[in-house]
Structures are given as structure tokens and as C-alpha cells.
Amino acid sequence: MTKARLNTVIHAPNRLQICAFLTPLQEAEFQVLRDELDVSDSVLSKHLKQLEEAGYVAFRKGAVNGRQRMWASLTKSGRKAFSAHVEELTRIASVVTNPASDGSPR
């Protein structure tokens, strides 16, 4: 085990997956996100709301063929926070192969 500075908003598995999925994208539709994560509408809404409250995700509403659709995208601060979180995970993952970077007293 190692002490880590992890972003608690992003670290939850579903929210981590949402951020990872949105990283290469400009926008993704709610239904696409739901299908990729394989979760219910309510679970996805809950996680997206938490990311929105942290300022990491923004929404846009649009109508296609008379149907209301919602699009989600990562904000600039969301991309920055996710990138920092992944860097920290990478650092922790490398601890075993490089014990010197653990930082714990010997």
C-alpha cells in the first residue's frame, strides 16, 4: 500500500470510466455513455451530476427528430484533473517495479 493523492471525485470506478471515455471525444450522447458503461440511466445521471458539480463535465441539450437528447463533454478543468489522476495512478502502479519511488521510510 502507498499513500496517494487521488482525486476522490474521479476515483470512483464509474466516474473514472466516464472521464476516460470522454477524453478523446468532443461530446458523447447520454445513451452512448450508458451503453458503454453498461449502467442504468439513474446510476449514470448520479455520477454525471457529481462530475458536473465538480466542474469536470458540461452538458448540452439538443433535439434530433423531435427527441430530446443530452450530450456530455469534459471541461478543461475536467481534462486537467483526469490527467493528474491518471499520472498519480501510474506512479502508484510503478511502485512495485521501482521500489525507490515508494517514498516510505526503510
Binding site: 500500500m1 499513500k3 470506478p13 473514472l16 471515455f21 478523446p24 502508484i92
Partner: protein, 153 residues
């Protein structure tokens, strides 16, 4: 937001694996369609080629409207699409350079067409620009497929 947490290397690796998997899924969803690149190449090429006409101004509006409609309609139907501007500075500069070259070619071809009354210059420029845009779109498509883990050709 940040908090000290105990996390094992295995847990971190597991989280990173899920990140890689979902990022690949994002790239896979965003792979541009080949028809989109071909349509965009045709419309941009025709923006250049239309100057072969004696009075091109009533017609120049059609490819511009076409491009706007193409982007809007494809985005609303695909469910997810790639970023408008690249992440890296090098790629951003590449885009700026490409746009600058297109502008120079655009005004250069109009100048030559008017000075020498050579309609073929606009036709050839339109064809070359269209081909370049199509090849660039294919290059982008392959880059998306590679990042998605391949297997979409």
C-alpha cells in the same frame, strides 16, 4: 478534491486498465466515417473549383452551406465524435499551417484564374485540394482506428 488514500499497485494497475479500455472505446466511437471525409473533400474542393465559372459568387454559398449542414447532421446522428481541435501543440500548429496553405492556394488560384483568364487553374486546384482533404481525412481515420486498438478497416 484530493485526498490521501491507501491504494495498492495492483489496484492502481486495475484502474489504469479500465482507463485504457474506456479510452479505446471512446476512440472507437469517434472513428470518422469514410463517406464523411469524401463528402467534406468534395465540398471543400468545389469551393475552389467554383471559381472556374465566369460569375462564381452566387454559387460559392452552396459548398459553404453544405459543409455546415454536413457537420451538423453527422454530429447529431453519430452519438459521439472526436475533438474539434487536437490536444498537442504540434498538431495545433499543423492545423494552422494547413489552413494557411489552403488560404494561400485559394487566393493564389483566384488571382491566376483572373489574371490569365485560365478557368482550368480553378478546376485543377479544386481537384487537388479535394484529394488532399480526402487523404488528410483518411490519415485521421487511421489514427483513430489505431488508438481504438485497430480492427475497424
Amino acid at each position: 478534491m484530493n485526498e490521501n488514500e491507501n491504494l495498492s499497485a495492483d489496484e492502481a494497475r486495475e484502474a489504469l486498465e479500465s482507463v485504457t479500455k474506456m479510452e479505446s472505446a471512446g476512440w472507437r466511437r469517434a472513428v470518422p466515417k469514410r463517406w464523411f471525409g469524401a463528402a467534406m473533400a468534395t465540398l471543400i474542393g468545389s469551393m475552389f473549383g467554383v471559381y472556374a465559372l465566369q460569375d462564381p459568387y452566387p454559387y460559392i454559398v452552396f459548398p459553404i452551406i453544405g459543409i455546415a449542414l454536413l457537420i451538423a447532421s453527422s454530429r447529431e446522428t453519430v452519438g459521439a465524435y472526436g475533438r474539434d481541435f487536437p490536444d498537442s501543440k504540434a498538431n495545433k500548429w499543423m492545423l494552422v499551417l494547413f489552413a494557411a496553405i489552403l488560404l494561400v492556394v485559394f487566393f493564389g488560384s483566384i488571382f491566376i484564374r483572373r489574371t490569365y483568364d485560365a478557368a482550368w487553374v480553378s478546376v485543377v486546384t479544386g481537384l487537388l485540394v479535394g484529394l488532399t482533404v480526402f487523404l488528410a481525412s483518411e490519415h485521421e481515420r487511421r489514427a483513430y482506428i489505431a488508438k481504438a486498438g485497430g480492427g475497424q478497416e
